[in-house]
């Protein structure tokens, strides 16, 4: 450090230069999703000029890609808030399959009105989240263990209920997931709406700010009079509800409900949040970043196909990009601290 050439700059100039530089760096680096946004833009630019079909930057391609990541991104909004409180929700993929399955049969077997069927499906997701929240707060289980257990419970319920068969909602119900608002696919419209709403909630309400406070320092939050347990239950309930929204939309889009649907999506949800700048240590991150994280994962898969890369490579490249995004995040944090 003592040998640093900066040391030779006259003291006054040095401080001013450093101050300007630090301020600029701080401004950019304070944005937790800056890395992932840069990634999306760079990969998009490369694909625009190099994809042989010349079809990356077309409305058709971008809109279907947006549609495809919406389900995971909606679930990830809840997953991100759980991670902000220093928790984790491994049950969300199973929750998506279970709520989609039940909603489909409420429609096709019991002929419920779509609004009623969706309401019950959402209530089930909410109940699933409540169960997670109570296991973690009242029963005092580790979030990882509690939601690992409920992941199997929800997946198991879906299997027992369906007996392994794929179930189908009435074809009319696909209008929800397959429909468009103008040119924009419905699931993406819902994703954008929920992101705006929940971001406003996180930054604009006391309960929202408590989510960060609990994750940042639980003991301090408790000393400040925040009802930590209540905040935690709340985020798991919200995660369960958002999982159900994603699950029902996915089922509606596919027009089918399989008990094995959304297997492994819980990991995609965590990846989206972490890539988007949500810290696994809690207290940090944004929902906008999380959505960008989900978008980046989907963009990579889309671009690899458009670039005609052999299928075996996809998983490897996604893994490397996740590591790259986290690496950028580490650098960002370090820069911000200095």
């Amino acid at each position: 450090m003592a040998d640093d050439p900066v040391e030779t700059v006259p003291p006054v100039r040095r401080t001013r230069l450093a101050a300007v530089r630090a301020a600029a760096a701080r401004q950019v680096m304070a944005i937790s999703w800056i890395g992932v946004l840069a990634g999306i833009v760079v990969i998009g630019a490369i694909a625009t000029y190099t994809a042989p079909c010349g079809c990356f930057l077309t409305g058709d391609n971008l809109l279907t890609t947006a549609q495809e990541f919406s389900y995971i991104a909606i679930a990830a909004l809840g997953g991100a808030m759980v991670i902000m409180t220093r928790g984790i929700d491994l049950s969300v993929g199973a929750n998506m399959a279970f709520t989609g399955l039940i909603t489909a049969t409420l429609l096709s077997r019991f002929h419920l009105h779509p609004v009623a069927a969706v309401a019950i499906g959402l209530a089930l997701g909410l109940g699933a989240g409540l169960l997670n929240g109570l296991l973690i707060t009242v029963a005092g289980m580790q979030p990882f263990i509690a939601t690992l257990g409920t992941m199997s419970v929800f997946r198991g319920l879906a299997l027992v209920y369906s007996q392994g068969f794929t179930l189908y909602p009435p074809a009319s119900f696909t209008a929800l997931g397959q429909g468009h608002l103008g040119p924009i696919p419905n699931p993406f419209v819902i994703l954008v709406g929920l992101t705006v709403l929940l971001s406003a909630f996180l930054s604009g309400t006391a309960l929202g700010r408590h989510v960060y406070a609990v994750g940042g320092n639980e003991d301090a939050a408790r000393l400040l009079g925040i009802e930590v347990e209540r905040v935690k239950v709340f985020v798991y309930v919200l995660a369960g509800l958002l999982g159900a929204v994603g699950g029902i939309l996915l089922m509606s889009f596919l027009g089918s409900a399989n008990p094995g649907a959304a297997t492994g999506y819980e990991l995609d949800v965590i990846a989206a949040a972490v890539i988007g700048g949500v810290s696994l240590f809690g207290g940090e991150g944004t929902l906008f970043g999380t959505v960008l994280g989900a978008a980046l994962i989907q963009e990579i898969q889309n671009v690899l196909l458009l670039e005609r890369v052999p299928g075996y490579w996809t998983t490897l490249v996604v893994g490397l990009v996740i590591l790259g995004a986290i690496g950028v995040d580490q650098v960002r944090r370090r820069l911000r601290r200095t």
Binding site: T64, R109, Q163, L254
Partner: protein
């Protein structure tokens, strides 16, 4: 228009299958205790006859429980057990396809001292020790759907994946008149049967047909849809798609708009005519779908294992038919799936088969095993 018609097919009250299914329960132990009670009660007559015979416990283990084609094997097995009368039928596996999980399930069945086990092996080698352990413990063992040929299992009832792939390759060649560009869509890149089907497809293609890309969907329906649609977007000169696993079609037509648009321009050969696939056939989006003997995986496997327990000997290889379902057969297949919604006995009326008898049907090969 077509979609409205579709909407009606899924309807119905809580079916008998559900009731029976719940009685059969999730856990194997419960299935033995509760399910058979239900089946016997449903039989109504002749408990005295049943009680005099020895009751055999026969377990069928699919690769995973979350796959509808295996759910049909469950119904087929239940129906055969009921016909035979003195069979406790267990249908169990890990919830999703998982080699290690299935090996543990089989280990548990050996400890329960079941009389016979029929397994669909997810990997030809990983199952060898546990299957041999079962045979050494005096349990009759066969494989169905996917074989473990180096194990001591007696019989394999299944299809030659390379041969089916070859027939799929011949079919796309015929549909394209020997000229054109295709992509192949698969599931798990490490799945042996899928890789054999791909190998078969490639071996049948003439030099005029070029495989542009092989895409892997990891058995995930949304991913399969995305890859199929992206492939159509990427290759404007695409003439055909061979789906060695049909995940992209296990949805509703509306989920694959580009594929629907290219109806007739892009020929599609796929695998497993599930309920949703029947719509694609009806509407001419898909030209050829290859079947397996889903019902027979349960029905004939219970038949063979029961017969082995009686001391009969069977040929080692019993070939399973794989048929090409073409668009003109869509109605028959729609009826088949509608029957499944009505429960096991209604399904038996349309899916039902004649039980094989020892030493196997006329196309069976290999040495006699007992």
């Amino acid at each position: 228009m077509s979609r409205e018609r579709r909407g009606e097919t899924g309807s119905g009250r809580i079916s008998r299958r559900d009731f029976l299914g719940r009685a059969t329960g999730a856990a194997a132990a419960l299935a033995v205790g509760g399910g058979i009670g239900g089946v016997l009660a449903a039989c109504g007559g002749g408990p005295t006859v049943v009680s005099r015979k020895k009751t055999y416990t026969i377990a069928i283990v699919p690769k995973g429980l979350d796959n509808p084609v295996f759910a049909l094997a469950n119904l087929g097995g239940q129906v055969r057990a009921k016909e035979l009368g003195n069979v406790h039928f267990i249908f169990t596996a890990s919830s999703t396809t998982d080699t290690n999980g299935d090996v543990n399930v089989i280990q548990g069945l050996i400890e329960q001292k079941v009389d016979a086990i029929g397994v669909s092996c997810n990997d030809p080698n990983a199952y060898v020790p546990v299957l041999n352990h079962a045979v050494d413990s005096g349990i009759k063992v066969m494989c169905w759907d996917s074989d473990a040929p180096s194990s001591k299992r007696a019989v394999f009832y299944g299809v030659d994946s390379t041969a089916v792939g070859k027939r799929m390759g011949q079919e796309i060649t015929r549909l394209l008149n020997g000229q054109g560009n295709i992509v192949i869509i698969s599931g798990d890149p490490a799945a042996l049967n899928l890789n054999q089907r791909i190998q078969g497809v490639r071996s049948a293609l003439p030099s005029g047909i070029k495989v542009l890309q092989v895409l892997y969907t990891n058995d995930d329906i949304p991913s399969a849809i995305q890859k199929t649609e992206d492939a159509i977007r990427t290759y404007p000169d695409l003439n055909g798609i061979v789906m060695v696993g049909g995940w992209a079609l296990f949805s509703n037509e509306g989920a694959t708009p580009l594929l629907d648009q290219k109806k007739g321009q892009i020929k599609v050969v796929s695998f497993d005519p599930l309920k949703s696939v029947v719509d694609y056939l009806r509407d001419g989006i898909v030209q050829s779908v290859w079947t397996q003997d889903y019902w027979g995986w349960g029905y004939q496997s219970v038949t063979i294992l029961y017969s082995l327990l009686q001391g009969n000997r069977w040929h080692e290889f019993i070939p399973q038919p794989s048929n090409n379902v073409t668009p003109d057969q869509w109605q028959a297949w729609q009826q088949r799936w509608a029957a499944v919604d009505q429960g096991a006995s209604a399904a038996a009326k349309v899916w039902g088969e004649k039980p094989f008898s020892a030493p196997g049907p006329s196309d069976a090969t290999g040495p006699l095993r007992g």
